[in-house]
């Protein structure tokens, strides 16, 4: 089946839980969306599928307690394959004038894909608050550590410490321990009291809550040392060999160290919002997420006509919510096109999403970003590793040059000016800027997005084909 001549098909960017469920809903109503995803196989971050050559591992090993949901999503997607225009390995690197610029990795080909309606389901990456020594080889983000295990089937080290906070901390530690890796300790900056206080709210999602409790219980039962309320001090390294030898942290008044050869760290996730930004979506500060996020209504409509937002890319809500939000956004798209949709279903999805809001608040309370992180970040701490910008430089840029806003801080200090364009360092830089100026985080603003979303080879930027742009 092909699209009718002249018809511009709706486009979905991201084939994670949100994108897959969105595609499914569109297909169910007779549309044939284009699904563009940077990854080589659908599934997104959580249900990421290893390359076919490695797929002999069972789904149970790969996804643990999530196996059922993972399989369900994969099956749902595989069933769509014939009825969607699926483009894996394809990075959307820019958007302008109703067209997406897409770079196809393996062939190094570029396309310009037109859209009338667009669902942005770009997901999330790790939220990073660095610690001295984090640039040593052997230090990974939690997500990176998990990807190594899930995708490449290898561990980041033999004896690993996990630190930071957030549900992923315990999950990844659990997955590593289960895979037979020696997990030396889990260091959580949140306090037990945080978790206890947040428990009632988290009971809004009893199954998810139970999973979290299970991971912690399992780790404890298997002798993994769990410390909460800690302050990571530094990753210790062998200067000569330049690799991790241990970690040091503060536990109450006591400074403690532990030997290890790798560290996984992270503070939950941050939304991947650059595409929404390039599309011109309006952003607002979302206190729950401590971030500026593209605004959307309960159905997922952004401030830009024809652009819908779903999943973690519009605010971290987790995989289940991503599925519901993806479906909900697709139904909104359909309704806006005059297609009749099941209103009982849309109401049910919205109810679930709303209810999950309470759970999310609980999670944030259980695993807050360490409120004193910026205050304790030493001047010599490298915040932006692409440009080697330290916390001290950022503070000086505030005190000497009067920077009080993220883009000005960037202009004067080069923070976020390297390859990652602030995707890694932006969160930490904003925290330091807010602390150094005494301004609320909300007021220091956000880095403006500019193409390319990820670096693009010049010779490929030189040849945008106008595929589908209309003869």
């Amino acid at each position: 089946m092909t699209a009718a001549a002249g018809e511009i098909r709706p486009v979905i960017v991201g084939a994670g839980p949100a994108g897959v469920r969105a595609a499914q809903a569109l297909v169910a109503h007779g549309l044939q969306p284009v699904v563009i995803d940077e990854a080589s196989r659908a599934g997104g971050q959580i249900y990421r599928r290893p390359p076919a050559s490695l797929s002999q591992r069972s789904t149970q090993t790969l996804y643990g307690l999530e196996a059922r949901r993972a399989v369900a999503l994969h099956i749902a997607f595989d069933a769509l394959r014939e009825r969607i225009d699926y483009r894996p390995d394809s990075l959307v690197w820019s958007a302008q004038g109703g067209r997406l610029d897409v770079l196809h990795g393996p062939t190094r080909g570029t396309d310009s894909v037109p859209y009338g309606q667009l669902i942005v389901a770009t997901g999330a990456t790790d939220r990073v608050l660095p610690v001295p020594g984090w640039t040593l080889p052997g230090v990974y983000t939690l997500g990176g550590a998990q990807v190594a295990l899930k995708f490449q089937g290898c561990a980041i080290g033999r004896r690993v410490v996990f630190m930071g906070t957030g549900p992923l901390l315990y999950l990844v530690a659990y997955q590593y321990a289960k895979a037979g890796v020696d997990v030396a300790a889990v260091l959580d900056t949140a306090r037990l009291a945080n978790q206890i206080a947040a428990a009632p709210a988290m009971l809004a999602q009893p199954a998810v809550f139970a999973k979290g409790v299970y991971y912690v219980g399992w780790l404890r039962a298997h002798g993994v040392a769990l410390h909460s309320g800690v302050r990571p001090l530094r990753v210790l390294g062998d200067e000569a060999q330049g690799r991790v030898t241990g970690v040091a942290w503060q536990d109450g008044n006591e400074e403690r160290t532990l030997a290890c050869d790798a560290v996984g760290f992270g503070y939950a996730l941050r939304s991947e919002t650059q595409l929404a930004d390039l599309l011109g979506c309006r952003f607002e500060f979302a206190p729950l997420h401590r971030a500026h996020l593209p605004v959307r209504d309960a159905a997922g409509r952004s401030s830009v006509k024809g652009v819908y937002l779903a999943g973690d890319g519009a605010g971290i809500m987790g995989a289940d919510a991503a599925e519901w939000a993806g479906e909900r956004a697709a139904l909104a798209l359909l309704a806006d096109q005059g297609v009749a949709v099941d209103t009982a279903r849309t109401a049910a999805l919205e109810r679930r999403l709303h209810k999950l809001g309470g759970f999310r608040e609980g999670l944030e309370r259980a695993f807050p970003l360490p409120p004193d992180w910026a205050a304790h970040a030493p001047d010599e701490l490298v915040v932006c590793r692409c440009e080697n910008v330290t916390a001290g430089t950022l503070r000086q840029t505030v005190s000497v040059n009067g920077a009080d806003e993220m883009n000005r801080l960037k202009a004067l200090s080069r923070v976020g000016m390297g390859r990652c364009q602030g995707r890694m360092c932006g969160v930490a830089a904003a925290e330091i800027l807010a602390h150094a100026t005494g301004l609320p985080l909300q007021q220091v603003g956000r880095l403006r997005g500019q193409a390319p979303i990820k670096p693009i080879p010049i010779h490929l930027a030189a040849t945008p084909s106008l595929e589908g742009a209309g003869e």
Binding site: Q96, A411, G418, P452, P455, P457, I458, A461, P464
Partner: protein
Amino acid sequence: MTGRKTLHTDVAIVGGGIVGASAALALRQMGIGVVLLERDLCGSRSSGVNYGGVRRQGRPLSQLPLAQRAHRIWERLRETIGTDGEYLRSGHFKIARSEADMASLERYRAQSRDFDLGLELISDARLRERCPWLGARAVGGSLCAEDGQANPRLVSPAFALAAQRAGALIFERHKVDEVAHDGRAFMLRSGNALEVHAPALLNCAGAWAGPIATEFGEEVPLQSGHPAMAVTEPLPFFMNWSLGVEGGGIYCRQVARGNLVLGGGGKGVALDADRARSDRDAIASLSAQAIELLPTLRHAHFIRTWSGTEGYLPDRQPVLGPSRTTPGLFHGFGFSGAGFQIGPAAGEVLAELVRDGRSSTPIESFSIERFTPTPP
């Protein structure tokens, strides 16, 4: 509500770009009182996002006196604004892609002889020897060894900071939304926050200066333009010069960290009256030309593209000088894509005009009169 602050000063300035800020600094150095209003952050518009070319070569002869004056300011940059702003006299090399281009560069050298730019023509074997990285399209070029480059993000805000240290009152995030003249003095108002009274007013509002001129009966055909810009990841250092191309096209320079900054290749797109981005087709054209000029760039990555909003006049010359309708009003805007190098001199000229009523640098070609036909 009357929370509005009222200030009286000698000179009020609209716009904290490199022109307004350097005027403020020059005025303070003359002991004249200054209040500057910038609706955003000083040096965050054109002046802070431009390519960073600090070049005299290739300018119309009418601009060269101003450019020479600016050249002397750039030489003392650190003493003047407290930072070197990564300013380097690295050389500016204008590439010829044909014999006709080469002849044109030679003509320019002859015409500009009085200005002592020290232009050196390079071609053939010497060209390949001095710049082995140049692609085959280049047949030669003209080197101005004392021209160079600087980091606009650092330089332009630093002019404003220096002015402030010298005693100028600078109000950022204060948009001027009302100007008037009561026959003796100007009144500027920024919402409910601030009112400034001054006998002199400098219109240094860049691409947004048109409505202010119109307010005083001087309509100008000022248009916004958005040069496309891009930067690569850091590359091994290979090129000192800032490059341009005879007849236009692209320009590029490599900074000490290794990144290549490129510009040209067409236009950006305006998102709204204030913001712009590089256009997709402009990036494509920029990329194609860049590879042709510097084949080693083929596999380098762009990490970012951007643009800015600059004011252009049809003859690509700025408006710089006194108003023809309103005593005490002076314009300095519309630098048409080339105001970074001459901006500091334009600022000094404006300060001289305020103090002396005339400038020691010839500015007749930039008169606003050229757009307002004298009534019969």
